[in-house]
Amino acid sequence: MSVSTSAEVLNSQTDSAHPHSALLDSSLRLDPMVSLRPEPFGALAYHFGTRRLSFLRSPDIVAVVKRLDASVSVTEALRSCAIAQPRWPSFLAAIATLIESGMLLPVSDDPPAAAPETTAAQKDLTS
């Protein structure tokens, strides 16, 4: 299954190089107070609540961020956007930054529309 393969790739690296691998299983969404404005190089993201402004430096990270709402996990978003696995640590670091600045929020713990089987498989991986 694709999820376990990607996790294995990252988990086989040294821990210090991939501190954000725990984010792979996270379910995230863009805060509705964020305005994402496309630019040729990627996008500008402005949070109307915090007044923080971020520069997304690649159309690929923009695509991933936009994809998160419709994805059950970060892994799924990365795969849907065909991001090559050697790039995943940088994408996770970027996602971590966006979580820290309040642009990305965890999806609520209430049972979502996600298939129970997928959720169980993810839980197996993290145990």
């Binding site: 086989s12 971020s54 990270i61 090559a84 640590p89 940088s90």
Partner: protein, 47 residues
């Protein structure tokens, strides 16, 4: 997404150019700065 290797440069001093590939063992990792934060107050030409 495929990686264009036609411009491979094996100089070990080149830390300032585009995404770096670090080889650790047999795996390659590409290091990119994808998100940069700037201050909405930090641009000259507004009050």
């Amino acid at each position: 997404m495929s990686i264009d290797t036609s411009t491979l440069d094996s100089s070990s001093e080149e830390l300032t150019a585009s995404p770096e590939i670090e080889a650790s063992g047999d795996e390659l990792v590409i290091d990119e700065l994808l998100v940069e934060e700037i201050s909405i107050d930090g641009m000259c030409g507004v009050y």
